[in-house]
Amino acid sequence: MEKGLKLTKKDLRELKEEKKRNRQQRMEFVNMYADWLKKTPNKVWSKQQAKYLK
């Protein structure tokens, strides 16, 4: 069987909608993260960041 997907107009529309949803959710997360940062001591948030940033 040939690999890959033949995409219809409906598929492309759904992918476009999915990207829009993802973008919106990511922006909401960015807001949530900033809210959390503002109320979290530097020592706490920077420790988390340092653990995963080398």
Binding site: K3, G4, L5, K6, D11, E14, K19, Y33, Y52
Partner: protein, 203 residues
Amino acid sequence: MDFEFNGNKIVFEKELSNLDKLVLRFVKILDTLKVDYVIISGYIAILFGRSRNTEDVDLFIEEMAFEKFLRFWNELEKQGFECLNTSNAKEAFEDYLKEKLAVRFAEKGMIQPNFELKFPKTRYNEYSLKNRVEVILNGEKLNTSEMELQIAFKLSLGSDKDFEDARHLYNIFKEHLDMNLLKRQISELKVEKQAERVLWKKA
């Protein structure tokens, strides 16, 4: 970079980052509970050497009944993870996953990095999940989707970061890729111009 690549399996060894270790810990829970998944997007570029960080690891997980999701939720809690969207499993299932939205899990008390989980909601998502590629990293397994699809999809996302990830994956795997498949997916997603600029052009 040394690795073995044979169609649907990539075997390689490297020094694990804290992020790699966290990802392996998370996918072990999915494997234990027999939940099908694929990791896609940014982490895969990082896994294969891209020099950048990420706040989230994106996964598609199989669409499942609430009872199975609840077992997964409980196991995550037991293993020290918590959901960032809600503390209620039913709400995570009904208001997020079933509504085509992602739920995020992080280590308790942490915000990032987090695991962004979604049910497949398009044929493209379903194809990714069904046609997974096994990565054996230092003897441990994780699933991702076909590199050709990921590269084409990254081109369709369109940010500088996505273009760089696409180019990175292409550069790393080009000798092993199914070029017909890659070109077909590029054409299906109508991103030929982006491919010309990001992949085919030498500098």
